[in-house]
């Protein structure tokens, strides 16, 4: 965003991603069509294509929906997330071709406007099995269109990431509509249990992964709430999960809890804060990447910059500003290190404001070492008591 917009910022990973995407989609379409034509030579070509593109789009949507929770559960899947937008646009295009063929085949050339026909040609008659399914598909396609049309970084910047993200969370509405579209559409006719089984398996996979990941997120949040210093009675500001100490700084975690070049996440002032340890220093920034609100605290310091795990956007840990020519900025937090513990002031500094990194001085390093020894001593003691 700090540089001029281009159509697509191509790089080697994106090209690889798109090659796999296009190859997979082409394989799906060709295999479905050729096999259908071989097994059922009298099939109408348009309907064969309607089915190929429809099932292809639905499968691709399942894959896209699984990427998010998979990455929450295992960061090794993050490469699948990197260029997910291209998969989304492809999914929309497959759905669009499916819809265009449906309108031409089933609705055009009649006594009614073909688009209007989608709504008026499936009257409701009180029977569950004849719930009009085509309008479900129509509205799902509108949502997929909105998402595909706003997939460029121009829209991320001009809508701002939270608005953009809420718009793109409509994908769950689209998914629900498409499950209904398929359930009350083709499955009412195609009697094979395989069709029912495939959709059911897809549903269980998508919902199962999401619920698992969501539960883990809740668990992560409650973990920060359960740290000893947070169990003290909190102030009226309920969003602050760690309560301020006398001088307003909050005991966030131990220095030893943070791995080198990585961060620990706590919740302060209503949002997650990422506390990084690097080169003997501690810095805290807002956990929210300005690009797409990726979780910076799950990123890593690479070449001196906090790097977002989603798309590799970078920020200097002390200023929260992207290195030039990029212009992204995030709020920073004032930090102190005392007795091997990290204290963070819950009040964020305006985005891009330099906050002096706290140095892990000799004493705190020693304390850190001491606390480790202390721990082992207490373990020894514990062992002794057990004996």
């Amino acid at each position: 965003m700090g540089v001029e917009y281009v159509s697509v910022q191509w790089n080697r990973q994106k090209k690889f991603y798109d090659a796999v995407l296009v190859g997979g989609v082409a394989a799906f379409l060709v295999i479905f069509s050729v096999l259908t034509k071989v097994l059922f030579p009298r099939v109408t070509d348009e309907i064969m294509l309607i089915r190929a593109f429809g099932t292809g789009a639905f499968l691709l949507l399942h894959i896209i929906l699984c990427i998010g929770p998979l990455c929450r559960l295992n960061p090794q899947f993050l490469p699948l997330l990197y260029n997910r937008r291209h998969a989304g646009v492809t999914c929309f295009l497959l759905g669009l071709i499916h819809a265009a063929l449906v309108v031409i085949t089933y609705h055009a050339g009649s006594d009614t406007n073909p688009i209007l026909s989608i709504f008026v040609s499936s009257p409701i008659n009180g029977s569950v099995s004849s719930v009009p399914f085509q309008p479900f598909g129509f509205f799902a396609l509108i949502i997929l269109f909105l998402m595909a049309a706003t997939s460029h970084d121009f829209w991320l910047a001009n809508l701002s990431a939270p608005v953009w993200k809420s718009l793109h969370m409509l994908v769950y509405v689209a998914y629900a509509l498409l499950v209904l579209h398929v359930t009350f559409g083709v499955i009412q006719g195609e009697g094979s249990p395989l069709y029912v089984g495939t959709v059911a398996l897809g549903l269980v996979t998508v919902l199962g992964l999401h619920i698992t990941a969501a539960r883990r997120e809740v668990a992560l949040d409650s973990e920060s709430r359960l740290t000893p210093h947070a169990s003290r009675p909190t102030e009226s500001q309920s969003l602050v999960t760690s309560s301020p100490t006398e001088d307003e700084f909050v005991d966030a975690c131990a220095v030893a809890d943070i791995s080198e070049n990585r961060a620990r996440i706590v919740c302060l002032s209503g949002e997650r804060v990422a506390i990084f340890k690097y080169e003997g220093k501690i810095s805290a920034v807002s956990n929210v990447c300005q690009h797409q609100n990726g979780p910076l605290g799950e990123g890593k310091i690479v070449s001196g910059c906090i790097t977002c795990p989603w798309h590799g956007y970078q920020y200097q840990p002390d200023t929260g500003a992207s290195p030039p020519p990029f212009v992204e900025k995030i709020p920073t937090f004032n930090v102190r290190v005392k007795n091997g513990r990290v204290f963070v002031h819950p009040k964020p500094n305006p985005a891009g404001t330099r906050a002096k990194p706290a140095t892990i001085d000799g004493s705190s390093r020693r304390e850190e070492a001491h606390s480790v020894t202390g721990n082992s001593e207490s373990l020894v003691t514990l062992a002794a008591t057990k004996k």
Binding site: F145, T150, H152, F154, N158, L159, S160, N293, K347, P348
Partner: protein, 86 residues
């Protein structure tokens, strides 16, 4: 009847969007977002469908003379704006 009215309204909305999109991608985009100033043709074409869908928002920004994309609204940025930390 309702469906017909809905589709006509949708059609008019998108047609207005298309009419707005042409001047917007040529002139308006760089007015509200400096990074769009040198955007290549591919970029301009790519944003047309989105402009057709969200044209009232962009029209308002352009008309009120907004020069920069908006700053995102999240809890930290809101809290930071309230005052400076010690």
């Amino acid at each position: 009847m309702i469906a017909a009215a809905f589709l006509i309204a949708l059609g008019i909305y998108l047609a207005c969007g298309l009419v707005f999109a042409l001047p917007f991608v040529l002139v308006g985009a760089k007015r509200i977002d400096p990074h769009a100033a040198q955007g290549p043709w591919g970029f301009r074409l790519l944003i047309i469908p989105g402009v057709m869908a969200l044209w009232p928002l962009l029209l308002r920004r352009w008309a009120t003379g907004v020069k920069e994309p908006p700053e995102e609204c999240n809890a930290h940025r809101r809290a930071a704006r309230k005052g400076v930390a010690p």
